[in-house]
Symmetry: C2
Subunit: 408 residues, 2 copies
Amino acid sequence: MTACRASAPAASAEDVVALVREHCRPLAAERVALTDALRRVLREPVRAPEDQPAFDRSSVDGYAVRLDEPGSQFRIVDEIRAGNWKPRVLAPGECVRIATGGALPGERLQVVMKEDVEVGDGIVRALRRDAAVNIRFRGEDTRAGAVLVDKGTRLNPGALSLLASLGHTRPLVTRLPRVRHVATGNEIVPPEQTPQRGQIRDSNSTLVRAFLGQWGIEPEQVRTGDDQVDIESAVTRPTTPLAVPDLLLVSGGASVGEQDCTGALFDGLGYRIHLRRTNTRPGKPLIFATHGHTLAFGLPGNPLAHFVCLNLFVRAALDRLAGLDQETVFTAGVLAGELNLDGNSRETLWPARVRVAGGRCELAPLRWSSSGDLTCLATADALLRVPPGCRMLPAGSVVSFVSTTVSR
Amino acid sequence: MTACRASAPAASAEDVVALVREHCRPLAAERVALTDALRRVLREPVRAPEDQPAFDRSSVDGYAVRLDEPGSQFRIVDEIRAGNWKPRVLAPGECVRIATGGALPGERLQVVMKEDVEVGDGIVRALRRDAAVNIRFRGEDTRAGAVLVDKGTRLNPGALSLLASLGHTRPLVTRLPRVRHVATGNEIVPPEQTPQRGQIRDSNSTLVRAFLGQWGIEPEQVRTGDDQVDIESAVTRPTTPLAVPDLLLVSGGASVGEQDCTGALFDGLGYRIHLRRTNTRPGKPLIFATHGHTLAFGLPGNPLAHFVCLNLFVRAALDRLAGLDQETVFTAGVLAGELNLDGNSRETLWPARVRVAGGRCELAPLRWSSSGDLTCLATADALLRVPPGCRMLPAGSVVSFVSTTVSR
C-alpha cells in the first residue's frame, strides 16, 4: 500500500498542465469525410487548388457591357445564367443579360444592375451607370496555392464549408482517442438507483461521458467497487474487444486512504507515475501516469474535484493528443464582485460564470461548499484561479481563468 | 415572378432577429436519457430530492471522535468505509476509523485526519487537533426541494452530472427540430466533383450540416438546379418519409433575379412571407416565411452571406424553438485595431476573431472581399456589427458583436 502514498512534490495547475503536455504526443491522423470532421484537428495545410474565385463572376443580376462603352442603350445578344460558360467578345452597343454568379463572357466589362435599367423589345436602356463594375474578379479572394486552412486548425462549420468550396472533401485529421473510464467506489450506485444510507449516486460517469462527448469521443465505461482486484480487472479487461486505450481514466481511489489503490494499481501494471498530488483545490489527489502510448489519470472521486481535473488536466491531454499546440493555460478576465477567501495554502480553482459586457470579460464566482458540492455546475462555465494564501480579491481585479466550454 | 420582388421595408439585424423570435414557439418536450441530453434545453425545474449531501460525510481519511473529547488517545472500535452505514454512539476515548466519503456514525463528532495521528495496536494518538471537523454536513450544499437546475438551462456536462447526482436520469428537454435543407443553383456541383468552367462547388450544404450538427441536429438535405419545378419538388417531396419539417432552409434563389424563385415558391405553397430583404450585408436577400408550425428561410446563396444568416437569423430560430428566451442579440467587445470602411449604407456583419486578453474581449476584424468570399471562415468565430454609413472605427472602440461558436 505504500505505493499509494504521496511522494512527488505538490504542483500548481500550470505545473500539472506542463507535465501532461510534456508526455503527450499527437495521435495518428486519418482521412475522413467532411461530415465526420466537425471539431477534429486538421493535420495538413490546405491550399487553394485554383484561384478563388476561379473565374470573373457577376455579383449582381444585370447586363454586362463593355467598360469603355460610351452609350447608354444596348442590344441584348445573349443570356448567361449561373453555371453557364459562354465566352464572347462584346461589340459597342451590345450587352449580355447575366445572373448573379454568372461567368463574365470576357474581360474589361461592367455589369449594370437590373435595378438601374429599363428593358423593352430586346433593348436595355441604362438609367444610371456608376463606377461599380459589379464583378467578383478571378483570384480576388485568394490565389491558387495559398494556404487557406492551416495545420492545427480545429475544424468548425465555417472551416468545413471552406474545405468543401476547395473540393478538399477528405481532410487529414487526428483520429479520436480510445478512452476507457473506470468509476470506482463502494459507496457509488448507478444514478437510476436509489442510494441506501451511506451511498451516493455516481455522477462522475455521466460527467466523463458528456465531457468527452463534446468532441464526439465515446468512452468505454465500467463501474466497480473499491476492491483492487475488481478495479484491476476493470482496467485491464475491456468489455469490448477494444485495442489498448490512448487514455485511461480512473475516478476515485486517487487519495491516500487504505481503499485508495489507483496508485498501487498503476504501479502494479507497470505504469510510470509522474505525479501523485497537486497543490490545487479542489483536486489535490491526482495521479498522472504513462505506459507505452497510454496516458492514465487517477482522478479524485469528489465530483467538483473531478470536474476541475477533467477541465484542466484531462483537457490538456486531449488537446495535445488531438494535435493542438497551446502554450498558455489561463486567460485574464475581470472579477465581477469582491471575493472573500480563507487564505488557503493551496491554489484554488473556483467555479465561476463568464459574461462579456461593455468590452470586458467578467467572471462571477459561484457558491460551493466543498469539493463534493456540484450544485454550482448547473451554471458554471469557467474556473477562476485564486493564488495560494489569498484572503481577498477586490471587485474589478484582473484574474486568471480557464473556460470550461469546448470552444475556448 | 412579381412575387419574387422585394416589397417589405429593409430591416436591421436586430429587427430580423426580433421578427424571427416573434414567429417561433418552443417545440414539444420529451424525456430522454442523460446520455442523449447533452446540449438540449431543460423544460422543467429540477429540485433536490433530498438534502445534499444526504448524510454527514467525512471529507478526509481519518478517525471520528467526539467533538467534546478531552483526550488525545483513542481506541479504535470500528471501521467505516465509504458506502457503509453504521450508526453508533461513541464514548469518550473511543474512535472509529473512517474513509473519505464515509457516513459519520453519529452527531457532534470530529474527524482527525490520518496525517495527524500515530496508530499502534488498535490505539490512535492525535499529534494535533485543530478546529476543522472535516465533515461535509447533511444539507450544506443545498436543502431538499431547492431548484438546482432551472428550466431553460442548456445542459452542459456539469449540469448533466448534477442531474445524475440527483437521480434525475430522464430529464424533460426540448425535442430536436426536423430540418429540411435544399441547396439550389445551376452553377453548383457537389464538393467531390471538379467544377466545369462557370460552375462552383456547393459549400453551403456542408456549412448547414455542420452548423446544425453542433446541436446534434441532422438535416435532410437535397441539392437541385434553379428550375422552380425541381426546387418545389425538393421542398415538398421528402426523400425519406419524414413528417412536415419544423424548419425549411432553401439556399440560393432568394434574390431578385429571374432565376430567384424562393419567394414565389413559398408564396405558391401557401407560406406567409414576413420578410424579403434586410438592410444588412452580407445577406441582403433573405426571405423569412411561416406555414403552420413550419418556419422557412430563403437564404442568400453566397457562402459568406449564408454564414452570416445562419449564425444570426437561423440561430435565433433554433434557440427559440429549443425553448431559450434571450432578449439581446449583440454583446459589446473591444476592437483590436482600426477598421477603415467604405461608408456602406447597409449595416455590415464583419467576420472577426475573438480573443480574451487582459480582461478585455477583443475583436480582430478579418479580411473579406465580398459576400462570396469564405476564405476568412477558417478562423472567424464572431461577427462584428458595423453601423450603416460608418467610415472608420478606431482601435479600442467598444463594438457590438455576436459569437459564432455554440457556447455563447
